[in-house]
């Protein structure tokens, strides 16, 4: 059966709006919910502990929860946060950058890749599947 998932929020919403959104998500028909800041590390209204707490609540509502990683890593501090994210012991991680793939596969952890991670062909897919890729978001540029 095809499942429904809710991708990570791309907008800079205020805290209450985010919490309300996931309240609604908990009651929605979606089976998978992706959580986390994927756009800009300077948005700090929701801390990692908050994401974990939201994730736990969603899980209690029966959702599969995935933590999404930052798309573009530049500062060393961002790598620090990514390492922490990839070590979390509660949820699977959506890798939005090759650094996350490397950290997760080195730790022998299964992972998903997100829309900004380029997988355009079978040979790429096969290699990543050997590294622990369990699901992937097709690039929007992929032809039918």
């Amino acid at each position: 059966m095809m499942k429904l998932s809710i991708g990570p929020i791309q907008y800079f919403w205020d805290r209450q709006r985010v919490l309300d959104f996931y309240q609604q998500a908990a009651d929605s028909a979606a089976e998978i919910v992706y959580l986390g800041e994927v756009i800009c590390s300077k948005r700090r209204l929701i801390k990692s502990a908050d994401w974990i707490a939201i994730g736990n609540e969603l899980r209690q509502s029966g959702k599969q929860v995935i933590l999404s990683s930052l798309t573009l890593l530049e500062a060393a501090s961002e790598m620090g946060s990514l390492k922490k994210l990839c070590r979390n012991d509660a949820f699977m991680v959506e890798a939005n950058d090759i650094s996350a793939v490397q950290l997760l596969s080195a730790a022998d952890r299964d992972f998903v890749t997100g829309p900004s991670f380029n997988i355009y062909n079978g040979r790429s897919l096969q290699l990543l599947a050997r590294k622990g890729l369990k699901r992937w978001v097709l690039p929007v540029e992929l032809g039918l």
């Binding site: 798309t71 573009l72 890593l73 530049e74 500062a75 060393a76 790598m79 950058d97 090759i98 650094s99 793939v101 490397q102 950290l103 596969s105 900004s116 380029n118 997988i119 355009y120 062909n121 079978g122 040979r123 790429s124 897919l125 290699l127 990543l128 690039p139 929007v140 540029e141 992929l142 032809g143």
Partner: protein, 331 residues
């Protein structure tokens, strides 16, 4: 620091070599490389001449096969890899994981460089390509500051090449969808951003309009020099204002920070512009050669010469130059 220069055709390649490039990078005449423009790039015959011309003079040839094949096109990328390998080129510049996997398995002794199109900004990411495909060099995207580049270099398992001059991609390379959005074709899929097939120049009573697949990208009044309608470099209306909402059309110019790049351990400096003329290649190569030589013999006393700056400004997009992300104050 090695000087790596662009060559869109044989005259450009000769211009690069004759003006002191240590290496040239080229592409084949199809969508396997990120400068897939009409009239540009190498057929098998011109490619053979190119390799011979450069290698006879002791210089290197790199072949960019740095776009992403979709399942039905994979064979074309394999053929490009094989052809480059059979002609004994010095390195391939690759971006796609599948193509890297093929090349490293089929040609284990061939040197592989990771293209800027792979969009890798961390030592961990470089580690992935090093472990899996034994890449020998990485080209960093133009989004990092000098201190971030320095940090990557200290931890990277392979030497690092950075861009030293040329047009800029404001988004991180390999992950920009703007051109796809407007035209259905992008650097990743087709090897060109804002492809010429979709460009229209329109004369109007009060100047020139440039359009990309019908979308108005810019308007130039009388006497204003019209630029190529690359999507990110258009003037757009945002609220009340019409301006370069994404990026000003300027060129990257690192002459003033060459000693810094050398000090932090950059191994190679790349010049952008395979789509530009042989005259551009000759001029930029000559200036960069002089500057790098000067910097390598006397980093302390190094100062970019006014004449160099003027020569580079004259061939720059928008006739302005910038240090881009290298000197980003807020990081």
């Amino acid at each position: 620091m090695e000087l790596v220069c662009p060559a869109g055709n044989l005259p450009s390649l000769k211009a690069a070599i004759d003006n002191g490039a240590d290496a040239v990078y080229v592409g084949f005449k199809d969508d396997t490389n990120a400068r897939h423009f009409t009239g540009l790039n190498f057929t098998e015959r011109t490619f053979e001449k190119a390799v011979r011309y450069a290698q006879d003079k002791g210089r290197k040839v790199f072949v960019a096969i740095n776009t992403c094949p979709q399942p039905n096109g994979f064979k074309r990328w394999q053929a490009a890899v094989d052809q480059a390998a059979e002609y004994g080129v010095n390195a391939l510049i690759l971006a796609d994981i599948g193509v890297l996997d093929y090349a490293s398995e089929r040609w284990p002794d061939l040197r592989l460089h990771l293209s800027v199109q792979a969009s890798v900004t961390s030592a961990e990411g470089i580690g992935f390509y090093h472990q899996n495909f034994a890449i020998k060099r990485v080209v960093l995207p133009r989004v990092l500051s000098v201190s971030q580049v320095a940090h990557v270099i200290t931890e990277s398992p392979v030497p690092v090449e950075v861009f030293g001059f040329g047009s800029l991609c404001v988004m991180v390379e390999g992950r920009c969808l703007l051109s796809s959005y407007a035209t259905g074709r992008s650097p990743n899929t087709y090897g060109a951003c804002s492809p010429a097939s979709h460009v229209r120049w329109e004369e109007t009573p009060d100047g020139t309009n440039t359009r990309l697949n019908g979308v108005l990208i810019d308007h130039y009044g009388e006497g204003e020099k019209a630029g190529y309608p690359t999507l990110c470099k258009g003037r757009f209306q945002v609220g009340e204002n019409t301006y370069y909402a994404l990026e000003e059309p300027t060129s990257l110019n690192t002459l003033s920070i060459l000693p810094e790049l050398q000090r932090i351990g950059v191994s190679a400096i790349k010049v952008e512009g395979r789509q530009r003329s042989p005259a551009y290649v000759a001029q930029v190569t000559a200036v960069m050669r002089a500057a790098i030589d000067h910097c390598m013999t006397d980093a302390e006393g190094y100062q970019p010469k006014d004449q160099w700056m003027q020569e580079l400004a004259s061939v720059s997009e928008g006739s302005q130059t910038t240090l881009g992300a290298y000197h980003r104050p807020w990081q």
